[in-house]
Subunit: 279 residues, 2 copies
């Protein structure tokens, strides 16, 4: 078994439910999985727990707490409550970290200042709710092309700044897709590492051309990101967790899920030098 | 006549050639236009000069010098020579500034370090070629979603850093579409302004959702960018040039070009408080 590589369920979500996915990972000797709450809902909490127990799989990333933003205070409070329930469920599943998903700015709002303030306030509340548990919360800066409808946190620098202000139990997931373009990246990864903040390292690739802002991510090696360089940067920054494959792609979703998982493992082995031991 | 508002020909390029476009701007009391070299080629240099002279229009932005990058040294030298010819032509057209277009990294190259080094080297050569002319060259940081195939300069900070290193006669065009997401934006606009670097201010809008990475820009007011805030930021930074409308959009290209120009003027008047005086 290996804990060096994790597949995120989103990578094969169209062809495998959570039960099939966890078994598929386990069969390949992967000891951890990253999962989604909507997929737990799809098969039911009992079935989700059962397959994890049965295969002895642990949960690495738990997706997700959010969206957090809304136009009215009442709605924001409701979303905050829902996010707290997600965190509770993640703790029940013994997840390593819970991904925070701010969501887009309320409709009609111009600019990002308001959304940024609201997000930070909400994250503060969620950290209070979490307390000093085993898991931590994780910001995942998203690509700037998603600033309008997914997240106002679109750079490692901004995520680091928020961590500086909100303190411990808050980490950062570095997803190469979202941050590869940033000329400050190496230094911001080092900064995150210095504070032990790097909670995960997500891989996939940037395709040229990119046909869709959400669902056209590439398989590792098919795009232009210098993946080995970034992996070395997070390792140098002290990250000793696994590489997590997360590919949102209409193209890969349409293919045979077992073959996709095999290819993910193969590509990670050749790009990152990960040796997979079969169980 | 007003020199406070400029339309970029790209906004209506599908329905108006350069002759029709310059006349349309002039009829509306706009004393300047921003033009494209491929559109000069389309009608011929003589015709392009004639319509400018006839209407008494001046050229604000000249698009463009580049692409600059290529995989071999020979090809790069050829592209540099072509860019020099574009700069010469821009000077002949008495342009205020020439947009630099780095282009994508050479095929097969991973990461952006190589492209960044090559771009900066090429811009240095072009500044030498320009000498102390009337025009200046302008970097235009593009949106990070274009880092793979259009430009490795994707933030105001990076453009400012390059200007710091390469010195005078190099400016920055601030296009709201490309930079609006940046949490450092206000401070980087102020930094650019302090050095008198802001060569232009391009407006359009970010639509939610965005359907295409190149050709789905919005009309001012239809998206989520806080345009008035950014205009105030560039004015506060000392910029006293015009607002330039540049919309790349399959949607707007398909409409009647005269109506589009009228709407651009109307939207700019209401968002930026620009009073248009008819000639």
């Amino acid at each position: 078994m290996t804990d060096r590589l994790v597949i995120n369920h989103a990578t094969v979500r169209e062809k495998m439910d959570m039960t099939a996915f966890v078994k598929a990972c386990s069969r390949r000797g992967l000891s951890m999985v990253s999962i989604w709450e909507n997929e737990i809902d799809r098969i039911g909490k009992a079935a989700a727990k059962e397959v994890l127990t049965q295969t002895g799989s642990r949960v690495f990333g738990y997706n997700r707490a959010g969206p957090l933003l809304a136009s009215s205070a009442t709605e924001r409070r409701q979303r905050l409550d829902a996010a707290k329930r997600s965190i509770d469920l993640a703790l029940e599943f013994d997840a390593d970290h819970v991904l925070l998903f701010p969501g887009g700015a309320p409709e009609g709002e111009k600019g990002l200042d308001g959304a940024r303030g609201m997000t930070e306030e909400a994250v503060g509340h969620l950290l209070d709710h979490l307390g000093d548990g085993a898991a931590r919360l994780a910001l995942e800066p998203l690509h700037p092309m998603l600033a309008g409808d997914r997240s106002s946190i679109v750079s490692m620098s901004h995520a680091n700044d928020i961590c500086d202000r909100l303190g411990r139990n808050l980490g950062i997931v570095v997803d190469v897709y979202h941050v590869w373009w940033d000329e400050r990246l190496d230094e911001e990864i080092a900064r995150a590492g210095k504070h032990g903040r790097i909670a995960g390292f997500h891989v996939n690739d940037w395709l040229v051309p990119t046909k869709h802002t959400l669902t056209d991510r590439g398989m590792m090696g098919d795009g232009v990101i210098d993946l080995a360089h970034l992996w070395n940067a997070v390792k140098r920054a002290g990250y000793d967790g696994p590489i997590e494959v997360e590919i949102f792609s209409d193209d890969w979703w349409a293919r045979d899920a077992d073959a996709v998982i095999d290819l993910c493992i193969e590509r990670c082995a050749s790009i990152f030098g990960l040796v997979m031991e079969r169980a």
